[in-house]
Point group: C2
Chain length 405, copies 2
């Protein structure tokens, strides 16, 4: 790490992970004059193609991790599957943000739901199980239908099954222990008949001062985030309640950094926290910049990355307000588009033809894979339905611009 | 340079210069998935602290420059004082954008004005001189008052003098040859009694397709850009004429990349191109991202950096439109603030208290010097005078936040 100039902020910030979240955070940190070091085992990590200080070493390489920690003033992470025991050993006096207890809670779906229960945060009824037999037994007592998930690991729909009858209960038991493991921590959850998925990001500094972002409406396809709309199409009282829940969660965990709360909104009467005709449930938490938050790069006066950068550099936050009336939308660009259609990233003619598309970001990933997040775009339109239409039209155009040969 | 992934655009882009303009351009190129290499003789160049591929070598190091050119697909530059003869030798078949003839024209104020004359672009009356005696002789014939500038080199008010009488003519002659040079190319220009300084950026691709940015109003203090307001407070017909002049200039030079045209606006009757009660004059050109254009990072649907990045990657442009009603303003943060006040970059409490400030960018320069551009900020307000007030208030607050001890 080279010497820090006197005209920059004092922070040297370490980021565990050199994917798109780490890279975009690094950009915000550099904008404050901070120094940044990233750590990623993947020699093809996008950050490595760009940034000066990237360590390529395994998550289990204690010597490399120790060196990394010794060269920075504060450490954060871009994904929550960091090995907490290793960090416990290494962090020492270096602030690790959000802290270890936040990391361990959000690494475990059972711990998340227990935290909700302890702090009065609305959530779906849940139960724990730890082996195939217990899953069957607890599942029958719990009542069908339900969703069963591994408590740890798994994302974008991996490591979960929907149980609607005895046959699917057997399938789930087989599937979740297909690797031969005898025991595995599982969570059974009541299925929330949601009408909307939403998320709400809270930025909270070491002094407990917090800013809450506007509520995002999220649409998933095959368990992967497809688009995010802001503001969410919710009555103001429901959005306010969602923001309050997100803030309460950040306080309950004493988050210093970002906490994204993923929420379900359902019709009132199904449990959760009732607001007028709606009910809100916490789904899960992510203690880091969130895919849905990419929309804030263009839509709000403070982006999720700028907010986290300021917290890490111990600079005050400002309130993230929407930059314009109407609706902003973020659409993910997945690897499927590359695999099916060749080189959609070259179809920028389409971008020029869709002036409502304000920004396209490509992460520079080494190779396209199905469902892999390769980039995203942000568009603005006078109203939500036009914004959603713009996503579909732009993505269709990208896909059709370079038909597979 | 590491291997390019198949999922990125094909360009490997070389940037001569690793200051703030090169860095912000690199950010836009990375956002397209391109690879970037920067070249700067300064071991403290801000780019070096951040980016993976920065060559630190002298501008006269032909071997280092040749290696740099051999590793990229296209080369651009962040400032126009690049040695054109060296580039002529090295560029070979690598596109150099904007091209050598643009560079040599914009390196020379006489060549710029002659180009204006040849292409009917409005400009102040001018004359050439090349030694102290000729300056006196030509100056007397030209008529007082006038401004005399070195044709090459000099920026931010350096290398120029205002001549109002015989005594100041002698002082100018002495000052401009103070280094003992016998001959130096000079340009004498009539003083335009301008009421506004403005600039207009044109982005133009290799096929000649161009996009013209909104006109910026620029305010200088001691010859250094202080703030930029967009849209400029001009009648629409005057702004349209300014954009047309800027576009004509870009076409006249066959610019592939960005051309910034700096303009004077005066009252009609003083020469120039008359539009209603106003007259427009070209002041000078810059074939690169421009300090005034920083406002586009926040104010327009396409930034100057994104526009140049797309041209370098051979991707189509879209139209840069203002993102909101009202006025956007960019304020420079100069080294004086650091020298006089300690660490104003740490006064982000002020930022939080000035919610109209949307973004602050610090360049991470090694040391503060008087007049040195250390960073900038962008604010938005409902109308131009509130925007300008916001600049003053924010800057005052930064300066007062950390009084010199």
């Amino acid at each position: 790490m080279i010497a820090r100039p006197s005209s920059s902020v004092t922070a040297r910030v370490g980021i565990l992970g050199g994917g798109q979240l780490g890279m975009m955070l690094a950009g915000s940190l550099y904008k404050l004059g901070a120094d940044v070091a990233l750590y990623d085992p993947d020699p093809h990590a996008p950050a490595r193609r760009r940034y000066a200080h990237v360590t390529t070493a395994a998550w289990t390489d204690r010597a490399a991790l120790a060196r990394f920690f010794s060269e920075v003033d504060v450490v954060t992470y871009e994904f929550e599957n960091v090995d907490a025991t290793v960090i416990t050993e290494l962090a020492g006096s270096i602030p690790f943000r959000p802290g270890l207890s936040v990391l361990t809670t959000t690494q475990d779906r059972l711990a998340e739901k227990r935290l909700c229960r302890a702090h009065g945060l609305p959530h779906a009824r849940f139960e724990a199980a730890s082996c195939a037999d217990e899953l069957r037994e607890v599942g029958r007592a719990f009542g069908l239908p339900f969703i069963v998930k591994t408590a740890r690991g798994g994302y974008d729909g991996k490591g979960q099954a929907r149980v609607v009858d005895e046959a699917s209960l057997d399938r789930a038991a087989a599937q979740l222990f297909a690797d031969g493991a005898a025991r595995r921590s599982l969570i059974l959850e009541e299925i929330v008949p949601f009408t909307m998925e939403a998320s709400c990001i809270v930025a909270r500094d070491a002094a407990g001062r917090a800013e809450v972002f506007p509520v995002f409406e999220n649409h998933h396809e095959r368990h992967v985030l497809d688009w995010t709309l802001v503001p969410a199409r919710l009555p103001p009282a429901v959005a306010d309640a969602a923001r309050e829940i997100a803030l309460d969660a950040a306080r309950a965990m004493d988050v210093v950094g970002l906490l994204t709360t993923e929420l379900f909104v359902a019709q009132a009467g199904a449990g959760g926290r009732t607001v007028g005709e709606h009910a809100i449930f916490v789904n899960e938490f992510a203690p880091r910049p969130h895919n849905s938050g990419h929309v804030t790069r263009t839509a709000t006066t403070l982006s999720q990355f700028d907010a986290l950068a300021r917290i890490l550099c111990e600079l005050p936050l400002s309130s993230p307000r929407l930059l314009n009336d109407g609706a902003f939308v973020m659409g993910n660009l997945l690897g499927d588009l590359w695999l099916e259609r060749g080189a959609p990233h070259l179809a920028f003619e389409e971008w020029a033809r869709h002036p409502e598309v304000l920004d396209v970001v490509l992460y520079g990933k080494h190779e396209a894979r199905p469902g892999r997040k390769m980039g995203h775009f942000v568009a603005h339109a006078p109203d939500p339905s036009q914004a959603i239409d713009a996503v579909a039209a732009f993505r269709r155009a990208l896909g059709q611009a370079h038909p597979a040969g």
